[in-house]
Amino acid sequence: MNRIVKKEQWSPEVFSMDIECPLVARQHKAGQFIILQLGGDFNERIPLTVADKDVEKGTITIVFQTVGATTHLLARKNVGDDIPNILGPLGHPTDIEKFGKVVCVGGGIGVAPLYPIAQAMKAAGNDVKIIIGARTKNLVIMEDKMRSIDPDLTIVTDDGSYGRKALVTVPLKEFCENWHPDEAVAIGPPVMMKFCALTTQPFGVKTVVSLNTIMIDGTGMCGGCRVSIGGQTKFVCVDGPEFDGHQVDWNNMLSRLGTFKPQEAEEHHRCHLDLGIPEGKA
C-alpha cells in the first residue's frame, strides 16, 4: 500500500515523491489534497496537495518542503518504502471553466499544487499566464512544467538570484493593469495569498486561493481547519480548500495557523533532538 516509486530532491528542503495510490489517483481532480500519517499511535496527520497523478500507473505526486516533524520524517523515506496512511482525495476540485484570461500565481512550494490547476485551466480553453515566486533561486520549482503551459512564464525571487527581484504581487498588479485577467488563482504561503487577494481586489478580479490550515481528520469532523469566509464559518477540508480570496478573514486565518506556535517552538526543540533533525528547520 502506498509504495514510494520515485523520489527526487529538488532543493535542500524540497522533495517530490511518486506514490502508488491507485484509488486516489483515479478520483483526484485538480485542487484536491490528501491527508498523510506515517503510522503508529503518535504520528500526526498532515494535509498535502496532490501535484500530479498518473491514473494508468496508479500513482500520485506529492511535493513537500521539510517544515515540520512529519515532512522531515517523510523526506527520509526512500523508493520502495510504504507510507502507512494516505486518505484522499479530499476537498472540492477547483472550479475549472472557460473564464477567458486566467493568471496563476504560485509561491514556493505552492507552485506544485498550482500546476494541475494551470494545466486544467489551459485545457478548458483559457488564456493562461503564470507567475512563480520563491525566496531564492534553488527554491524555484517546476519551471519547465510551468513553461510548457505558459511560454512567457514570469519568475520572481525575493533576493533577485533568479528572474526578477520582486514579490509575486508586483507582476500580478501589472497583469491586472495591462492584461485584465478574468480570474486569478493564487497558491502559496498564506501571507502571499493574502497580499495577492489585496492586489487584485481594486481591479475586481476574482481571486481563488487554496487554504492550507491546520487539519486533523480532513473529513469535517473536528472543525480545526475552520476559517471565516465572508463572515461565515467554513471548514477548509470539506467546504474548501479553495475560497474567494476577497472573502477570507486573513487575520483570523493567520492567527489560527499560529495556534501552536508558542508551544511548538519549545516542543520542536525537543523533537529535533529526538529525531536528529537539524535545529531551526521545523
Partner: protein, 490 residues
C-alpha cells in the same frame, strides 16, 4: 465497603443460594473501586477499576430475579438481564457471557459507557423497593465484569461464519453501529468490507471517548474480532471522496451497503468570536488527545492544547469528557458552563459525579454571548448571560431563557464547544438522491432501516442524531437482519 473476608462469607453463602428475598434486599450495594481523584487527574488510565469476582457475585445476588423483569424492557437491545445476572451470582461467568452475547456484541464497551440510570437500572425492582435508583442492581458494572473476566481468561467467542453466500457487502464507518452490522452480516456468510475514513477503526469509541473511560485496547480487540471473522477492514477510505456510494454499488459490485457514518459535524458556539485562537470543538479537543495521543507529549507529534483556565460549553457526556481531559492535560481550572440547571444535565450521572470529584466547576444557567480575544486573535474570555428556565421544549426539557442585561465577562484562555454534533454532510453531498431530514439525518424505513436508495441501509448516529453506543449497536444489528433478508432474496 465490606472487607474481603466478609465478602468471602457472603459469597460462600450465596453460592449455596440460601438467601431469602428479604435478606437479599439487605445485601449491601457494591461500590465500584476507582482511582482516587487526586491521583487520576494526573494520568489517562481508566478511572473505574472494575469489581473483584466476589464483589460481582455479591452484587449479582442483590437481584431478586423478579418475574416481570422490568430491567429488560429498559435495555435498548433487550439483554436477558436476570438470566446473565443469575449466572454471575453462581460464579458462572462463561454462562453469563453467553447470555449477554445473544443480544449484545460489545459488553465490555456498553458496560462502561451505557447510561444505565436511564435504561435498565432505572426500572430495577430493587432500586424501586429502596426508593432510590442509586440502589438498583449495578447491571452495567456486572456486564463489564463479565466481559473483562472473559478477556482476562483469554476466552473469546469468535462467532461462526456461515458458508459463503457469494454476496458482497460494504459497511461505511467503524463505530458501534458498523461494528455490529459487520459482525452480523459476516456471520451470515457474506463477504464484508468495512470502509473507515480515519487511520484507525472504532469511530467515536477511539477518537471521542477518552482512555480514562474506555481503554482503547478494548476497542482494538472488538475490531480485531471482526478481522478474525474475516471482515476486510479498509481504513483511509472516505466514502464520497475515495469512492462514491454509487460507484461502490455500480462499479465495485457491492450487493448492499450499510452506512454508519455517525454524527461527525461539530456544532460551534454560534456567537461572535467562535473562531478565535483557543476556541475548539470538543471533537477537535478530544481527537487530539485520544486518537492522536497528544496527552503523551514525549511521543506524540500532534500538539496538545495547553491551557490554564478552560470553559467547556455543554452538559452531555462530551462536555464531561472534554472537561476531564482538560484537567489531565494540565489545566488549572476547568468550568462547565451549561444553559440549563443541574437537573437537566444530559450526561451520565456517574460522569457528572466523577467530574465533580476531580474538581471540575459547574456554572449552571449561563449561556455564551460573545468570545473575546486580544490583538493577536487569542481568546481572553467569554461574555456570559444568565438564563432562567422557561417552558419545556420539544425535547421535554425546560428551555433556558436568557435574562437581558445580565451579561458579564469571565476570563478564560481556552474555550471548548461541546454543544452537540450534526450529521456529516459528505455522503449526502456526493449522493444527493439519499433522502435526509432537516437535520441531515438519513431517513430510513423504521423496520428495515433501508434508506431511500434500495439496498442502502443506515443506522446509528447518522439516523438517530447524536445518540448512544447501545442504540447505534442495536440499529447496526437491526439493519444487518434486514440486509440478510434482502440479500437472500436477491
Amino acid at each position: 465497603m465490606k472487607s474481603a473476608k466478609e465478602l468471602d462469607e457472603i459469597a460462600a453463602k450465596l453460592r449455596k443460594n440460601s438467601y431469602t428475598p428479604k435478606e437479599r434486599m439487605a445485601i449491601p450495594l457494591q461500590e465500584m473501586p476507582v482511582q482516587a481523584p487526586e491521583v487520576r487527574i494526573h494520568n489517562m488510565d481508566e478511572v473505574a477499576l472494575g469489581f473483584s469476582e466476589n464483589q460481582a457475585i455479591v452484587e449479582a445476588s442483590r437481584c431478586l430475579g423478579c418475574k416481570n423483569h422490568p430491567c429488560v424492557e429498559g435495555c435498548p437491545v433487550r439483554i436477558d438481564i436476570p438470566g446473565f445476572v443469575s449466572h454471575v451470582a453462581s460464579g458462572d461467568m462463561k454462562g453469563a457471557y453467553s447470555v449477554i452475547s445473544q443480544s449484545s456484541l460489545l459488553p465490555a464497551i456498553c458496560g462502561r459507557v451505557c447510561p444505565q440510570e436511564n435504561q435498565c437500572q432505572k426500572f430495577c425492582t430493587v432500586g424501586k423497593m429502596h426508593k432510590d435508583i442509586e440502589q438498583s442492581v449495578g447491571i452495567g458494572r456486572l456486564e463489564r465484569y463479565v466481559a473483562d473476566a472473559m478477556s482476562a481468561q483469554g476466552y473469546e467467542i469468535i462467532p461462526e461464519v456461515a458458508a459463503a453466500t457469494g454476496k458482497k457487502v460494504a459497511v461505511v464507518g467503524s463505530g458501534p453501529a458498523s461494528i455490529a452490522a459487520a459482525a452480523d452480516l459476516r456471520k451470515a456468510g457474506h463477504e464484508v468490507f468495512m470502509f473507515e475514513a480515519l487511520h484507525k477503526g472504532g469511530g467515536v469509541l477511539v477518537y471521542g471517548i477518552p482512555e480514562f473511560r474506555l481503554p482503547k485496547k478494548i476497542v482494538a480487540s472488538e475490531i480485531g474480532k471482526l478481522e478474525k471473522m474475516g471482515v476486510h477492514i479498509q481504513t483511509n477510505f472516505l466514502v464520497g471522496r475515495t469512492m462514491t456510494l454509487d460507484a461502490l454499488m455500480k462499479e465495485e459490485g457491492f450487493d448492499a451497503v450499510f452506512v454508519g457514518s455517525g454524527a461527525g459535524l461539530p456544532k460551534l458556539l454560534g456567537v461572535p468570536g467562535e473562531n478565535l485562537v483557543g476556541v475548539f470543538s470538543a471533537n477537535e479537543y478530544l481527537t487530539r488527545s485520544n486518537l492522536m495521543h497528544s496527552y503523551d507529549p514525549d511521543h506524540a507529534l500532534t500538539p496538545a492544547i495547553k491551557s490554564e483556565k478552560v470553559a467547556v460549553f455543554g452538559g452531555g457526556n462530551v462536555a464531561m469528557d472534554a472537561a476531564r481531559t482538560a484537567l489531565r492535560l494540565g489545566a488549572s481550572e476547568v468550568t462547565i458552563v451549561y444553559r440549563r440547571s443541574e437537573n437537566e444535565l444530559p450526561a451520565r450521572h456517574e460522569e457528572v459525579g466523577h467530574a465533580k470529584e476531580e474538581g471540575v466547576h459547574f456554572l449552571f444557567l449561563h449561556a455564551p454571548v460573545e468570545v473575546q480575544g486580544d490583538d493577536k486573535g487569542r481568546v481572553t474570555g467569554v461574555v456570559l448571560q444568565t438564563c432562567v428556565l422557561g417552558e419545556p421544549d420539544a425535547s421535554g426539557r425546560r428551555s433556558p431563557v436568557p435574562v437581558e442585561g445580565s451579561e458579564k465577562f469571565y476570563q478564560f484562555d481556552t474555550v471548548i464547544a461541546a454543544i452537540g454534533n450534526g450529521s456529516n454532510p459528505l455522503i449526502k453531498m456526493t449522493t444527493p438522491q439519499i433522502e435526509t431530514n432537516r437535520r441531515g439525518n438519513f431517513i430510513v424505513n423504521e423496520e428495515t432501516l433501508e434508506t431511500s436508495i434500495p439496498g442502502v441501509f443506515a443506522g446509528g448516529d447518522i439516523v438517530l442524531g447524536a445518540a448512544t453506543v447501545i442504540l447505534a449497536m442495536g440499529q447496526g444489528r437491526q439493519a444487518a437482519k434486514a440486509m440478510n433478508e434482502y440479500l437472500s432474496g436477491k
